[in-house]
């Protein structure tokens, strides 16, 4: 159920757009209205979620660290794993965001002959990295559909991605990488019992959706051609707010674009918000300087403090009688 429901949900989405475009001819809806709506939902949703997170107080200073804290001068500090200033935090965050540093530390715990043993477990890190980077490259590459004069950077990325010069249209390395990586990430959730147990429909749905997007894109590029110049006209129309529907693009393109629209619209409501969340996690983005700088809990309300002076005032006579030293006579 946790797997089948999202799987058939994606199938249903594909059938929906197929029926909508091919039979009912709702080009305007699927080509213009839904992409715009999805982008608006995406932007507003992400802003809302991030600002809501920003409004939650962080009552405690809670960086999680795994290195020597800044201490006495002759103890060597681990400046990246246990940063004490902004620069260290920036480097640490950059490593986390760009190369998934904490996932790299992932370990596998196993019982062997009654003993607990820890082993390296890099597959998730590797597949995650391969998936995210190829997705980013694919996204950037698609900007060629959205600019009249394609910036040279995008052309460069595109030529690097296709430098193997296999077949025509040139085969993109990232197309293969993303398919393999997403497939691995899916099978991992099915194959490993513990992961299967904790996987929910909300984990499988984005995987199937992204797989659907990648497959429809691959089919469109290499196998069942669409009218590519028409695709660019449509895309340019959208981004210049003069939307139009060119003739004869092909239903595969509408499936591709609809699935992307669903992904964009689904984004703010889902686990995919880890894109913004990774920057917002206090366990990562705080410097471990709790001995230098006092972290003030924003929830703090004025607490009545009974000072020693007040205590002595209350009990001075008794203290004197008992022979205890007092500060004021």
């Amino acid at each position: 159920m946790k797997i089948l429901f999202p799987f058939f949900a994606v199938i249903a989405l594909v059938l929906l757009v197929f029926a909508g475009v091919n039979m009912a001819g709702m080009y305007f809806l699927f080509g213009i209205v839904i992409p715009y709506a999805a982008l608006v939902v995406f932007l507003i949703g992400v802003l809302y979620r991030v600002m809501k997170w920003g409004s939650s107080p962080v009552p405690f200073h809670i960086p999680t660290t795994c290195g020597q804290q800044k201490s006495l001068p002759w103890i060597k500090q681990n400046k990246i794993e246990n940063p004490s200033g902004s620069l260290g935090v920036i480097v640490r965050m950059a490593l986390e965001v760009l190369v998934f540093r904490s996932l790299f530390r992932n370990l596998k715990t196993e019982l062997k002959d009654g003993k607990v043993v820890y082993g390296l477990e890099k597959w998730l890190w590797m597949a995650g990295l391969a998936f995210h980077w190829s997705f980013l490259i694919i996204l950037v590459r698609h900007l060629r559909f959205f600019a009249e004069n394609v910036p040279p950077v995008i052309k460069l990325i595109e030529s690097l991605d296709s430098f193997l010069q296999v077949g025509v249209p040139l085969f993109y390395i990232t197309d293969a990488v993303i398919l393999v990586a997403v497939t691995y990430l899916f099978f991992r959730r099915v194959y490993i019992p513990q992961i299967k147990y904790i996987s929910l429909a909300a984990d499988h749905f984005p995987l199937f959706l992204i797989l659907g997007i990648a497959i429809s894109g691959v089919l469109m590029r290499y196998f069942f051609k669409v009218h590519i110049v028409g695709v660019k006209q449509l895309a340019m129309g959208l981004v210049s707010f003069k939307p139009s529907i060119p003739e004869g693009i092909g239903v595969l393109f509408y499936i591709h674009m609809f699935l992307i629209s669903v992904l964009f619209a689904y984004f703010p409501f889902s686990k995919l918000m880890h894109m913004g969340g990774v920057f917002m996690s206090p366990t990562r983005n705080l410097a471990n300087n709790s001995r230098e700088v006092r972290h003030i809990n924003p929830w703090n309300y004025p607490v009545h403090v009974h000072t020693y002076e007040e205590y002595e005032n209350d009990f001075r006579d008794k203290m004197k009688k008992a022979g205890l030293p007092v500060e004021k006579e």
């Binding site: 991030v50 600002m51 920003g54 409004s55 959205f146 025509v168 249209p169 660019k232 210049s240 913004g276």
Partner: protein, 134 residues
């Protein structure tokens, strides 16, 4: 909002990245590529024979694969005869067959390729036709 300075800067960067295609296109005119298929060579042909080796719909999406197959056939198998879907024979040659009619590379090939930012490597080996400057 706590740390609003940093968060707002981050969000502005995010919005700037996402909306790049929109503000990048402000005030630019988007003309779709218009192909010219009125070269003298094509004009000479009788109306009914003005056909490419395969139907237009196939050529639009599949010309690159056709050319790739031609190259493999000629270079690797030495076979220069192409039988099209209407059972007509053609000489497999980019320079001598395709470009014979479509002698206007700039107004034919390059139009869409430039529009789509595609850079085919045909002309790494082949000699591009000389065109009169307009």
């Amino acid at each position: 909002m706590y740390d609003s300075g940093k968060i707002i800067v981050g969000l502005i960067i995010f919005i700037a990245l996402v909306t790049f295609p929109f503000y990048n296109n402000i005030g630019k005119v988007n003309a779709k590529p218009e192909l010219k298929i009125d070269t003298p060579e094509i004009q000479k042909l009788p109306e009914l024979e003005r056909k490419c080796v395969e139907p237009k719909d196939f050529m639009r999406g599949g010309h690159m694969q056709l050319l790739n197959d031609w190259r493999d056939s000629v270079v690797r198998n030495g076979n220069r005869v192409y039988k099209n879907s209407a059972n007509k024979d053609f000489n497999m040659s980019l320079q001598n067959e395709c470009m014979r009619c479509h002698s206007n590379k700039k107004d034919f090939c390059d139009k869409c390729h430039n529009y789509m930012a595609v850079k085919p490597y045909c002309w790494d080996c082949h000699i591009a036709p000389k065109e009169k400057k307009p």
